[in-house]
Symmetry: C2
């Protein structure tokens, strides 16, 4: 059972709009056990639409098409489907009624141009749109069953889950193939090194496929298991994940695609511990990441961005002597910042960063990419220096923040 | 001159990742005057890759392919290109040297699997990658010149602008049509309202096309001017931009696609003023945004995330009475936070947020989406409440932070 996805519209073709619909539909189809083999995007051009639909109709069993169902002249999907199927457009009574109900509910008058939306290819089945004006439809052309949906993500999603996925499931009968996907998040190895470490996995686990995704600065390992028996899939998946964990060790920070900050949050909450952060070069990013996690107010008590030496002294109590002797970017300074954040907030852990994110500010001794990370706990205070040679300020801030959170995670596990 | 874009990778095909590369490349090609007719996405499957490349080679003049150039087993683009062109893979000395330079600079050892990345189809020309390990390449197959680039957006963008677009421009010869694009960034109107306000622009300015892009929570207005004479383009563009500015007013915050935070930074620097921020619901995001701007240490002195009432009192000096009477989310609290941030840091401006980003914590009186924004200056202290009904914590944090920065911007202009 092979599926393709067709996104239509000049705004997507020309790049004015990023198409997020196709990724969403792919995920849902793969979860249903349908393999998506191809996405295509074309513009609002009737000839191209007709030929693309014909091409798909000879290659795929299922196709989901988005866009082009609106009331204006550049909405051509019904016409194009009729052209590809070599049938006429006819007024669909169910489509018309559902549109009338929609407008009545909202006490709006239906305009003449909306009536065009009820003209469907002969033989098509209307798909109700409970949340918008454009009805969808399904039609079989050659070997392929097409589902035409609106391009508005909100409407598309509703209709996909309410009508399309159930219909696709019933098309399967007993021929269903399952697919299970897991995302393992790692930090600290390059993509190449991760790949080499796991090179023999496909030999050891037949039926398991892995892929790598660089989501800077994480490397995610995607594990795909295919098969007809749900039970076997689960065992295969567990075996493969255990193997990966054994090979990559504690550089794995999440086995369900979770973020570093939610993993750190979970560990803090488990220990009933709290955290305070003092940031210089990361400029609030660690605080932002931690507070992206819902419920973080349970363990996150305080953060400050102290860019100037004055604020490092007056707010955090970093000693003048330390700043004069070693400078703002130094292990000792980072350590005193972490200690200060912990002291003034009463948190269990204090975490601090001081470094040079660039593009300016680097020296021979402390080049752009240098970061000192401080950690203060009940039992110890430490400051450690790292060097990451990334080319942009934003990448440096990101890797500095991730490294700081990873150091805290290592302390917590 | 017709172009197609091919995105490769199981993570995109399966929907685990939204492909934003293709939209970016489309925009850049259209700006260069090349019409993009189709985007295609396929997975990491050699046979499918070969047949898709062959298919494109007979239909398009130019193709940009992203992904599949990495060091791991699922990186198949070079092999597939060689298969489609019916040539062997050979070690490319230029590619190897550029990789060796990259690793040497970073004092890393090049691993064996990286060497695979220097194997290019015979006859291909290496495209230097100044910011990553994977070299790209170009190769002509049938009527089409293919440009193979990495899938990592940062690397792809650098190589596209440094190597690919200049090569495509030179392929054009004198047949060139100019296209000028400008991005006007606005905040405070919906996309529909922006569109309605500017509905008569295409009539008033023939040859000018506008498009809208929602980059939450901004609405960007893309202004495209086409023509064969560069001079006319400039006059047309200036007229259209002036017209847009007149209609949208000070909801326009940048006329060159700049960010809100860089605009605020520019205004602060112009006034030789400084800023301190006290955040609750935005959790460090305002600080992170401001410090994303290089040179922000010149005007940004201090920020804190004070989640707990204790830290609002002890760090910022918010009065116990205010917190007891009005609660943490209130105009008065936000005002006192802004005042406190300004006082303890000595900054010219103090800016503060306190609100409910959700998903939990809302009440009938103060539902999720409520934010109070405080501003303290030499002459005034104010706190104002807003309500934004967005569905996610991350969207709420983002719009709260933007609104706070916009309030400061309005004060500064």
């Amino acid at each position: 059972m092979k599926a393709e996805i067709l996104a239509t519209g000049d705004e997507i073709r020309s790049g004015a709009l990023v198409d997020s619909n196709s990724a969403y539909i792919s995920q849902k189809l793969e979860e249903t056990g349908v393999e998506v083999t191809r996405h295509i995007t074309v513009g609002d051009d009737k000839n191209i639409l007709v030929s693309t639909i014909k091409e798909i109709s000879q290659r795929a069993d299922i196709a989901v098409v988005t866009g082009g169902l609106g009331p204006t002249q550049d909405d051509l999907s019904s016409e194009a489907a009729a052209g590809a199927a070599a049938v006429d457009l006819v007024l669909d009574p169910q489509a018309l009624v559902s549109m009338e109900v929609f407008f009545k509910k909202r006490k709006h008058l239906m305009s003449v141009s909306n009536k065009k939306q009820a003209m469907l290819p002969k033989g098509a089945l209307c798909i109700n749109n409970p949340v918008g004006t454009a009805p969808g439809f399904s039609i079989k052309i050659n070997r392929c069953t097409f589902f035409f949906l609106p391009g508005v993500p909100f409407e598309m999603k509703k209709m996909l889950s309410a009508s399309v996925l159930p219909q696709i499931s019933s098309l399967f009968g007993h021929n269903r193939q399952y697919c299970m996907v897991k995302t393992i998040s790692t930090f600290g190895l390059t993509e190449a090194a991760t790949g080499e470490t796991l090179a023999d996995l496909p030999v050891k686990f037949p039926g398991v496929k892995i892929g790598f995704r660089s989501k800077f600065p994480e490397i995610q390992i995607k594990v795909y298991v295919y098969g007809k028996e749900e039970q076997n899939l689960l065992a295969n998946m567990e075996g493969a994940c255990e193997y990966i964990h054994g090979k990559i060790g504690n550089k794995v920070f999440s086995v369900n695609g979770g973020s570093m900050e939610s993993e750190v949050g979970r560990l803090l909450a488990d220990k009933k511990a709290t955290l305070a952060v003092a940031e210089s070069c990361t400029g609030g990013l660690i605080s932002h990441m931690i507070t992206n996690v819902s419920g973080s107010s349970g363990y996150f008590v305080f953060a400050c961005t102290t860019y100037s030496n004055e604020s490092k002294m007056s707010i955090l109590g970093v000693s003048k002597n330390t700043l004069n002797t070693f400078g703002a970017v130094h292990e000792e300074t980072a350590k005193e910042m972490a200690k200060g954040a912990r002291r003034i907030s009463g948190a269990t852990y204090g975490l601090a960063t001081s470094g040079i994110a660039g593009p300016g500010g680097g020296t021979d001794d402390k080049p752009v990419g240098t970061v000192c990370i401080g950690l203060a706990t009940e039992n110890k205070e430490q400051g450690v220096r790292y060097y990451y040679p990334f080319p942009t300020r934003s990448m440096n801030k990101t890797i500095f923040a991730m490294k700081a959170l990873d150091i805290l995670r290592m302390e917590l596990i």
